[in-house]
Symmetry: C2
Subunit: 499 residues, 2 copies
């Protein structure tokens, strides 16, 4: 195939694939947010048909020829197109190797899995979800085997979500984090229950919480014309382009759950809202990796959102919306409450310090599900055992145990570790940002936009043009180093607990 012809077809194909991705993305969003419950059957059928069309559009001889031609002429391509071609070659290599029947059947299974998980969680009935989860694990193993039989299935998926990650790397990473944090968690536990959180656990009316969400979006400098906020069981962020980002939240009685969901998802949204205009419409107009994405959500959620300056900034608004609940509460008391370190059951409600232990448990379980040393039937018991061992908590039921997260029901195994890696990236990024910006002052003065701009220049604008390791280097001038994370947590929590 002629180079120019290949280039033209490649661009056209990107547009078409983008349209399918957009349409199916909106359908998933709709299904998760506003669709009536019984819509799921028709939804699954349509997703099945469109996925198959998308697959055939991608996996065919002409497309192989297009990609092969362009890969052979890589040096003649501009930087953006070259990166598009490289990513397409990577994806196509995957798609080429998965039989279409399995691919389509798997997509249909995932629709069913989401329904089953929602029902299982609502009724505390793991048995309802277990057979589907077993199939998902099996699909994940088989698919990994089709694509790269030279590595273990879990290594394959870890590397898919975060290039460079592996069982070896994560075993070492988690060992380091565990060694540093467990003694700290232990010291804090010995101090006893010194932080009052009773006011945070009161009932905060829904209407006020919704208003507070809108306020937080403004503080984060998120334009509502570009980013909506919906409500789902499990909060998430999705995007179709930089002018169409969707975050969701879940309202509990306590105000802090929703507050930190909005800030966390808002961090994901800020990343997508600020990709460069030069990659609008490109498949590269998306975050570089799940780890880098989580670095941003957790940076806003924890490093900024749980700083004393941030609480001082937003506290007047909280008082205005919930005068009764907060009548005897100061900003400092609120700051301490949202930073209370206490082993708990639910990952997304976990404090900043113990959070990585939740991730570690999931990492260990996934590793064993994937290598076959743990069955899905044994999962709940093992989940509960590890929660007792690492966090000292008793899991009362599967709804508050192994059914709490949506990830496995959506087919992702190997994603959880990126949450913890993200926190570590975030701490490193902020350590370097501090050399150029007075972060505390900016937050205090409601100028988070300046921080967003800095991150846009260093990270957001690149989309997927740079890989995770290149971004860290570009931003920090050095390789990834988890020491910043350990230091940050140690300093912060020693101060809070006077250790």
């Amino acid at each position: 195939m002629e180079f120019q012809k290949a280039l033209e077809l490649f661009k056209k194909n990107n547009e078409t694939m983008g349209a399918y991705g957009h349409a199916m993305g909106v359908m998933y969003y709709d299904m998760d947010t506003v669709a009536p419950k019984n819509a799921f059957k028709g939804f699954g059928k349509t997703i099945g048909i469109l996925s198959e069309i998308q697959y055939r559009l991608s996996v065919n001889d002409e497309n192989f020829e297009i990609i092969d031609t362009l890969m052979a002429h890589k040096d003649e391509l501009d930087f953006i197109t070259r990166r598009e071609v490289e990513e397409a070659a990577h994806d196509l290599d995957m798609m080429r190797k998965i039989p279409i029947e399995e691919y389509t059947a798997y997509r249909v299974l995932l629709t069913e899995a989401r329904e089953k998980w929602l029902e299982a969680k609502a009724t505390n009935n793991y048995e309802l979800f277990e057979p589907v989860l077993a199939q998902i694990v099996d699909y994940n193993r088989r698919i990994a085997g089709y694509i790269d039989p030279s590595v273990s299935p879990y290594d394959f998926w870890l590397n898919e979500f975060e290039r460079g990650a592996s069982v070896k790397m994560l075993d070492e990473y988690f060992a380091k984090v565990k060694d540093a944090l467990v003694p700290l968690i232990h010291s804090i536990k010995e101090k006893g229950d010194v932080i009052d959180t009773s006011f945070a656990e009161l009932s905060y009316p829904l209407e006020g919480q919704r208003k507070f969400s809108d306020y937080l979006m403004k503080v984060l400098t998120i334009n509502k014309d570009d980013c909506s906020i919906g409500e789902t069981e499990h909060p998430f962020t999705t995007h179709f382009n930089k002018h169409d980002v969707r975050i969701t939240t879940h309202y509990h009685d306590s105000v802090t759950n929703n507050m930190y969901s909005v800030i966390h998802e808002g961090g994901h949204a800020l990343y997508e809202l600020n990709t460069g205009d030069d990659i609008i419409g490109s498949p590269l107009a998306s975050g570089a990796s799940t780890g880098i994405h989580e670095s941003q959500s957790r940076l806003y959620e924890n490093i900024i959102g749980r700083s004393e300056e941030f609480i001082e900034l937003i506290f007047p608004k909280l008082k205005e919306l919930f005068p009764e609940q907060l009548k005897d509460v100061s900003a400092h008391m609120f700051y301490l409450a949202v930073n209370k370190a206490q082993p708990s059951l639910i990952r997304i409600e976990a404090d900043e310090l113990t959070y990585s232990m939740h991730v570690l448990i999931r990492y260990e379980l996934e590793k064993r599900l994937m290598d076959g040393s743990l069955s899905t039937k044994e999962l709940p018991a093992e989940w509960n055992r590890l929660y007792k061992e690492y966090l000292g908590v008793d899991v009362p039921d599967d709804t508050h145990g192994c059914l709490q997260d949506s990830h496995w029901s959506s087919g992702t195994l190997g994603y959880f570790p990126s949450y913890s890696l993200g926190s570590a990236y975030g701490a490193q990024i902020v350590a370097h940002m501090k050399k150029e910006l007075d972060i505390a002052a900016l937050v205090k003065e409601n100028k988070i936009g300046v921080i967003v701009e800095w991150l846009t220049e260093k990270i957001y604008k690149y989309g997927m043009l740079l890989r995770p390791d290149e971004l860290i280097k570009n931003c920090c001038g050095e390789e990834f180093n988890p020491q910043y994370y350990v230091d940050y947590l140690t300093e912060k929590f020693k101060k809070i607990y006077n250790l």
Copy 2:
């Protein structure tokens, strides 16, 4: 092409086209309900790409051969498939004749038109919308000309929305309705302002109104697992299959706007929710025509929803939700208030008696826009003149005038008359239903489900298997006769106003 091969390809094609229709339908719904404002650009691009793909899937030599083959073997097809083939042949004939560039450009234009209309209505700025409307009229004329140059463009579109309708037929129909109703409206006007509606115009809190919507859905026997309720500027109903129907409403200060939006859209929804199981997944699983659809929405809204028995049924709930607003109000007073006949500005808020005058005005304007005797620039003045002449009201601004409805912005000219025809069908259907059911007693006893079942047997289950005229004959045992409508209104309003 061999018959069996053609049949197989036809079924497969229906599935694929259904998937595209479903995905784009969800995208439109999303755009109209929850998408952030700036999503419209990416939305328009994707809709453009998918429409073109859908068009090419439909308009190609193989598909022509499939349809031609099946039409030649019509007698060998089962009833459902034969009707599917007939409808496909009709649609394909249209698609074959529209140049693809025009078709795609028109779809993209409609996305822009919706945005412009929303903004024009919000800011009372018709000039913003006028150039787009001019293009829409032009497209409608050209498209009609491509398909059937032997009839006038407006006749073409009237017949598309309601097979059998034409300028000649509607000129006669509206003359008959006008002759009967104008004297009645005149007599009522002479009686003066005898019905108190002040309590209906109070402010009814949103939270209570949302609860009341849920209650109304239950009374109408709509299962929320199959049908959601959203919020939009202009209420509408859409459906993707009988287990995924969406209605929307708009909350005003007064409780009656939303109340009758929900019942009206609920009527559309009941039709779609009760199509036969034998046509699930078929392109025929949809209402027979806009006129028949409107006959159902307006039957529930007016003939049932504005009957004294219905008000008696729902009034306790209203009192419970709005005790303050309704503290000195009886069910009979509420019944009179929702039946007050008074010429007004807004079609969807118009009373049952004057409603057809609003439709008549739109019919006359559309007719002249389409035959070129009225320009889009002249439209607002002419709109205002006709409102003064037929209804005696002064239009204060275009937001409350020619910008009030979404129809033209979504490209439909020729649709409005079906609203009035629908009312006339509805009156005839109910007149025949009364021979078999005690409608008043059923409504009083909260057994609207029995009425829904009767209509399901006579109309809903058929979807598009029968055409409008066949359905009326099937249901009533006679041809369409507008006399029932005139008689029903005359009797009802003479009683209410003691004439």
